[in-house]
Structures are given as structure tokens and as C-alpha cells.
């Protein structure tokens, strides 16, 4: 760690740090620490998921039939694209090209919004099919599984994707805020750690989705393969799940 007292005041340096290097390192470590807490936060949800999938495997199998794996897959692609544009935005900031960084950030916001719109239609379909857990009109008849337990699958679906969507909304807000700062030339080649931190957060939220998608949508791989080309048929899967 270099502690040479910097004379003159580099752009972006806050008073209580000695130099930009120290400040950037602090921001990076802080962000990683925050992301670790996020992993444990989602980890609690995934623990609940694992316990209930173990307790009621057939409920989860039939519950997942009500989720549209094609829309989920589309959203996975959309998020992967958003991560790519985010990475380009950070790279452009590193190269000191605010204009191009700004454009990539706007693209990231667009992809993020597409994800939320698709998610909205998915949620709306659940309302239309009376799949809102806790509501009096909840009906679930598929596979002859207990409707009360089917509600557990859907409450986990809404909790996991809902918390994720909330992170997306916050993320879009942060990217928009950073984009305006980029536009106002608030950053330099040496000082762009806010863009980098936003990128870390964005990638993290994407990775969470990469886990949620198979956990929720792809329980029954026979559906995904279109029946004939299944990797696993339902019976084998049931055996594997115990």
C-alpha cells in the first residue's frame, strides 16, 4: 500500500483516503464483502428450496410445469447480453471513453428492462391461472398433488424471483445514476471505480438468475427437450429425487 502524501487533489479522491489506489482498493473489497452477504441472503432461500424439494419432489415437478421455460430461457439470454454490455461499459471507462461507456450503460438498462417486462407477463400469467399462493382462488390440479403443498412451490417461486427482480430494479436505478455521472464526465481513466462496482453488482444479479432458472423452470427436463429428445424422462428423474 503506498502512502505517499499526494500534493494536489486528484479528481474523485475523498479526504480520508491517502490516495486513489487506497480508495479504489477499499471500494472493491467493500463491494466483494457486500456480494458475499448477498450470496448468504439468497443461500437461505435456496436452503428452504432444497428442503422442500426433498420433502415434496412430485409437487415441485408438477409445479414447474406451470412455468414457461421458453420465457425463462429468453430472459436468461437477455441477462447474459446485459452482462456483456455492462462489461463493455466498464472497459470503455477504463480506456477513458465516457461516450461509449454511456451508450453501453443505456443498452444495459434496456436489456434489464426487457427482463422485467417479460417477468411481468410471466407473473400476470400466474394470476390468470389462479396460481397466487395464499389467495382463496388458488387452484392446482395437475398430477393430483396436494394444492396446499403446491402453494409452497409457488411461494418459493415468487420469493426467489421476486427478491431477484427487486435486485434488478435497484440495479437499473444504480446504472441510470452512474450513466448520468458518466455523461457529466465525473470519471477519469484513474478514477472510475463506481462504474466498476456497479458492474460487479450487475454481474452478481445475473449470476443469481443463472441459478434460479434451472432450479425453478428446468425441474422436468422432458418438457424442455420437447418430449422425444429428453435428457431424462420423468420416471428416472423421480427416482433420482427419491
Amino acid at each position: 500500500m503506498s502512502h505517499s502524501h499526494t500534493h494536489g487533489h486528484p479528481k474523485g479522491l475523498v479526504h480520508h483516503f491517502d490516495d486513489l489506489k487506497q480508495q479504489n482498493e477499499a471500494a472493491t473489497l467493500g463491494m466483494w464483502g457486500f456480494l458475499i452477504t448477498e450470496i448468504l441472503f439468497f443461500g437461505g432461500l435456496i436452503t428452504a428450496y432444497i428442503i422442500f424439494r426433498g420433502l415434496y419432489p412430485e409437487v415441485f415437478l408438477h409445479g414447474s410445469h406451470m412455468l414457461d421455460w421458453k420465457l425463462g430461457g429468453l430472459n436468461t439470454l437477455v441477462l447474459l447480453c446485459s452482462s456483456l454490455t455492462m462489461a463493455f461499459a466498464v472497459h470503455a471507462s477504463h480506456e477513458g471513453k465516457p461516450k461509449s461507456a454511456f451508450n453501453y450503460l443505456i443498452l444495459t438498462i434496456l436489456f434489464g428492462s426487457v427482463f422485467l417486462v417479460v417477468k411481468y407477463f410471466e407473473y400476470k400469467a400466474k394470476v390468470d391461472h389462479h396460481l397466487i399462493p395464499g389467495s382463496a382462488s388458488f387452484t392446482f390440479t395437475e398430477g393430483g398433488v396436494d394444492a396446499g403443498r403446491a402453494q409452497i412451490f409457488f411461494i418459493l417461486y415468487f420469493a426467489m424471483t421476486g427478491v431477484h427482480a427487486l435486485h434488478m430494479i435497484v440495479g437499473i436505478g444504480i446504472v441510470a445514476w452512474i450513466a448520468t455521472k458518466v455523461r457529466n464526465n465525473a470519471f477519469t481513466k484513474d478514477y472510475y471505480s463506481p462504474v466498476e462496482m456497479t458492474g460487479l453488482y450487475w454481474h452478481f444479479v445475473d449470476i443469481v438468475w443463472i441459478f434460479l432458472y434451472p432450479l425453478l423452470y428446468l425441474i422436468d427436463l422432458t418438457k424442455v427437450g420437447g418430449g422425444g429428445h429428453a435428457l431424462l424422462d420423468t420416471d428416472t428423474l423421480m427416482k433420482l429425487l427419491g
Binding site: M1, H3, H5, H15, H16, F17, D18, Q22, E25, A26, L29, G30, G33, F34, I36, T37, E38, L40, F41, F42, G43, G44, L45, T47, A48, I51, F52, L55, Y56, P133, G134, D146, G148, R149, Q151, I152, F154, I155, A159, V163
Partner: protein, 541 residues
């Protein structure tokens, strides 16, 4: 008093509520945490009053349930968890490592506001009619059939949890990245090591309890079984998730107090802490092993016998680093040149009470014995020996040790020593009888009890009264010293460490230039200490 310091740079409410100075934020915490401590103490008073007779004549069964729940929730989430780190950690870590502030001052202020919002939600839950779940929020007490205000209280604990996460994050980054040149890891005061370990637990444990509370709230709002077995949920899942955080959380509460203890023992024995690196690493060991012992709360909850066995053995393991610390403090005092100012009275009290609390923890961690002791007053007594005998003694010791640095003035030491001794006597009178009543079979959490236990409860309530008097005394002499106390000067205790080189109270940025540090931790001169010892007690054989 120095001409300019962090207290007099600006005046007015706004300068405090919008401050980014870690020292001012620490003072904000000091005030709010003290208020919560008083409130939690009030509910403890109600509980002790009810238990003065075997019958239920002062509170109804319902009111009693709400009183002990309010006591537990307030004390755990709004006093014990933030007390030492948010006040003394906040104030001292940057100064001890030679930094101008914590790494993220704005986030530091945010964490205070989150604490206040959480505390207000907790208080409003009590005002709205209370919670009757106990501090653990176990379903089915807390599931949708509970008529009390679980939502508000749970939300309060949830938000206070984020305050604690942000404090932990700030400490980790600050300790890693903001140490002054020369302030290497093994020159850090053990107070800093203890807070580093605490922060790791805050970061890794708190999110899990946060999501657990979210699931509890979701279950209550939607009426879908997650934890409630009558609608397909799994109550043991709640206990696993809850204790995954809440066992390590007792180390969030005790480790910072252990950090204070190391400082006090070294300063008032005039000796380097014996086995410095063992004490430092024992903090980390406690943080790590502490994460794999949670099942010792669930020996009778339907967890498998083999899981119980493993958890029982791991619980024995986590006692080792605590014992390392205890022995090392004792060995630091041995042949040290001890002086008995107020903070040292607290440190000696801590040592004795923590030994009793720790050893009785082993009783409870032993699976077979726990079947007998589970949910009796023995558990209550053990927990309070650690949390009051340990954490509160550490808190009071820290307050009396750092007060001259924080306020710039000395309190009357005679009054300090008197109140410390009253607290020690009152504490033992309150909680030691509970070990006996519990061992004889008195269950916890009932507002009535078998008349055979009467005498132990009378002693306990009498002790609580003495304890309350002891706790109130510092309020008066500390307030007096704020205005009229003798100016302390930079180093009133003759202690070693960077924090004692700055003026008292320090300036806003602690140091004009980032300092360069060339001293080992606790660089006391052993020969000088030995000479002092011989002058006082004669030759050492």
C-alpha cells in the same frame, strides 16, 4: 481541554444528524443504545417483579410472555449486538490503526439510521400490544395463528440486521485497507482483531437471519406453509436457519467485549498481553468454529441423534479458543504491575463471570446433560453470565476506559469503582440462584412456579434491584464529568497504543497527517513493571 476537537467544531442538531465523523456517529449510538438498554432493563424489572412470588399476581400470563419477549428482543437486537462495536469499535478502530475515518463514512451514518428505524419499529410493536414469541420467534408461536405483533418486531430486527451488516463491512474494509504505515497486522491492538472477527460473523451470519425473517413474514402474509407444520411447513427448518445466525450472533455480542478485555488487562497490568498471536487467532477461531455448532440449541427438537452428537463435539471445540483467551488474560496479570482503577475492576469481574458462564456452557453443550437442563433456568443463568457478566461488563469497562478519550474528561474514579462493585455483587445475586433453581428443574418462560423455588427467586429479584442501582450510578457521574470532570489529557491511563497519542477528545480527522507507527502492540517495559511490582509486594521468588 484542547482548543478544537470533534465535539466543538460544529454545534446544533443538524451537525450531529448529518455527521460523517465516526466519533460523532459513535456518540449517537452511545445515546440510542443506552436508551434501549434502559428500556430492555425495564422489562427485565417487570419479569423479576412477577417472579417475586410463586403465584401469578402481578402480570397476567399473556402480559408476562410479552414482557420477557420485549426484554429479550430489545436486549439482543438493539443492545447487545450493537453495543460494543457500534460505539467503541466505531470510535476507536480508525484511531487505533491511524486512519482519518472508517472507509465508508456515509454508510456508517446510514447504519445508524437503520438502527434507529429498526429500534422504532421494535418499540412500536411493543406499544401496539407486544409480541409473545420470545426473542427467538419460533414457529408456531410466530406463525399465522399468533395474535401478537410479530410483523412489526420482525421487521425491526430485519432492518437492525442491515445496520449490523453495514457496520461489519465498514470495519473489514477499514482494517484491511486503512492501516497506517508500520501498523502491521501483528501490531494491531487485540481490540481490532476481535472486531475483525466479529465483522466476519456480521457479514456471513446476519443475511441468513434476514432472509429467515422475510420467509416468516411471507408465511404470515400469505398463509402458506413454510415453517408452520399444520399447512405443510417445516418448523425445524426455521430453527436451523435461525440458529445458523443466532449462535454465531452470541459471538457478535461477546467477541468485542473480549477485545475490550484484552486492552484493559494489558493497560492495568502494564504488560504485553501474554501470547498475543494466540489471542488474536483465537478470535478468528471462535468466528469460524462458531458457525458449525448451532445444532446444540436443537438437541430436543427432533434433529437426528448423530447430528446432535457431532454438534455436541464441535461445541466442546469452540470452548478451546475462549479458554485460550481466559488463560492468557490471567497470565498477563500474573507478575504484572496491577492497578485497580474502575476499568480494571470491570476487567477482573469479567474474567470471573466469563469463566462461570463459559463452563456452564459446556454443561449445556453436552448432549446428555442438556436433556435435563434444556429450557430450565440453568440456560437463562448461563446466557446471562455470558451476556451480562461478559458483554455488559466489557461494555461498562470499555465505557470507563475510553470515556476520557471520548469526552476529554475524567469521571470520579471512587464512584466508578463503587458502582462496578455494586454491579458485580448485584449480578451474582441475581443470576447465581438461577443456576440452582434451574438445575432443580424450574422451567423458563412461565409466570408461575412451584413454591419450592421461591427462595431462589426472591434472591434473584433482590439482586436485580441492586444491579439496577449499580447501572444507574454511572449515568449521574458520567453526566457530571461531561461538564465538570478534570481534563484527561491525551493518555490518562499511561497506556500504549496509537489512540493514546492523540489529543482527548480527538480532532475531526484524528490526525493531521497519516501517522507512521513503529511500536509493537502493548509495548510495556517488563522490567519496569517488575520493579514496580517488587516495590509494592516484595521480591518475586
Amino acid at each position: 481541554m484542547p482548543a478544537e476537537h470533534y465535539l466543538n467544531v460544529k454545534y446544533g442538531l443538524k451537525s450531529w444528524l448529518l455527521t460523517k465523523d465516526h466519533k460523532r456517529i459513535a456518540m449517537l449510538y452511545l445515546i440510542s443504545v443506552t436508551v434501549m438498554f434502559a428500556l430492555g432493563g425495564l422489562f427485565a424489572g417487570l419479569v423479576r417483579l412477577e417472579l417475586i412470588t410463586p403465584g401469578g399476581d402481578f402480570l397476567s400470563a399473556d402480559a408476562y410472555n410479552k414482557a420477557f419477549s420485549a426484554h429479550g428482543i430489545i436486549m439482543v437486537f438493539f443492545f447487545l449486538i450493537p453495543a460494543v462495536p457500534a460505539i467503541f469499535g466505531n470510535f476507536l478502530i480508525p484511531i487505533q490503526i491511524g486512519a482519518k475515518d472508517l472507509a465508508f463514512p456515509r454508510i456508517n451514518l446510514l447504519s445508524w439510521y437503520l438502527y434507529i428505524i429498526g429500534a422504532l419499529l421494535g418499540i412500536s410493536a411493543i406499544l401496539a400490544g407486544g409480541v409473545d414469541t420470545g426473542w427467538t420467534f419460533y414457529p408456531p408461536y410466530s406463525s399465522q395463528y399468533s395474535q401478537s405483533h410479530v410483523l412489526l418486531a420482525g421487521l425491526g430486527a430485519f432492518i437492525a440486521g442491515f445496520s449490523s451488516i453495514l457496520t461489519g463491512l465498514n470495519f473489514v474494509v477499514t482494517i484491511h485497507k486503512m492501516r497506517a504505515p508500520g501498523m502491521t497486522w501483528f501490531r494491531l491492538p487485540l481490540f481490532v482483531w476481535a472486531h475483525y472477527a466479529t465483522s466476519l460473523i456480521m457479514l456471513l451470519g446476519t443475511p441468513v437471519v434476514a432472509i429467515t425473517i422475510v420467509l416468516l413474514v411471507v408465511e404470515r402474509l400469505f398463509g402458506v406453509g413454510i415453517f408452520d407444520p399444520s399447512i405443510g411447513g417445516d418448523p425445524v427448518l426455521f430453527q436451523h436457519l435461525f440458529w445458523f445466525y443466532s449462535h454465531p450472533a452470541v459471538y457478535i455480542m461477546i467477541l468485542p467485549a473480549m477485545g475490550v478485555q484484552s486492552e484493559l488487562v494489558a493497560t492495568f497490568s502494564r504488560r504485553r498481553v501474554f501470547g498475543y498471536s494466540f489471542v488474536a487467532f483465537s478470535s478468528l477461531a471462535i468466528a469460524i468454529i462458531g458457525f458449525v455448532v448451532w445444532g446444540h440449541h436443537m438437541f430436543v427438537s427432533g434433529q437426528s441423534m448423530y447430528a446432535g452428537l457431532v454438534f455436541s463435539i464441535l461445541t466442546m471445540l469452540v470452548a478451546i479458543p475462549s479458554a485460550v483467551k481466559t488463560f492468557n488474560w490471567a497470565l498477563t496479570m500474573y507478575k504484572g504491575s496491577i492497578s485497580y482503577e474502575t476499568p480494571m475492576i470491570y476487567a477482573i469481574g469479567f474474567l470471573g463471570l466469563f469463566v462461570i458462564g463459559g463452563l456452564t456452557g459446556l454443561f449445556l453443550g453436552a448432549m446428555g446433560l442438556d436433556i435435563h437442563l434444556h429450557d430450565t433456568y440453568f440456560v437463562v443463568a448461563h446466557f446471562h453470565y455470558i451476556m451480562v457478566g461478559g458483554t455488559v461488563m466489557g461494555f461498562m469497562g470499555g465505557l470507563h476506559y475510553y470515556w476520557p478519550k471520548m469526552s476529554g474528561r475524567m469521571y470520579p474514579d471512587g464512584w466508578g469503582r463503587l458502582s462496578a462493585m455494586i454491579i458485580f455483587v448485584g449480578f451474582n445475586l441475581t443470576f447465581f440462584p438461577q443456576f440452582i433453581a434451574g438445575y432443580l428443574g424450574m422451567p423458563r418462560r412461565y409466570y408461575m412456579y412451584d413454591p419450592d423455588f421461591h427462595i431462589w427467586n426472591i434472591m434473584s429479584t433482590a439482586g436485580a434491584t441492586v444491579l439496577a442501582i449499580g447501572y444507574m450510578m454511572p449515568l449521574f457521574y458520567m453526566a457530571w464529568s461531561w461538564k465538570w470532570g478534570r481534563p484527561a489529557g491525551p493518555n490518562p491511563w499511561g497506556a500504549k497504543g496509537l489512540e493514546w497519542t492523540t489529543q482527548s477528545p480527538p480532532t475531526t480527522f484524528n490526525f493531521d497527517e497519516t501517522p507512521i507507527w513503529n511500536e509493537e502492540a502493548y509495548d510495556y517495559d517488563p522490567e519496569e513493571a517488575e520493579a514496580e511490582y517488587e516495590r509494592e509486594f516484595g521480591t518475586i521468588n
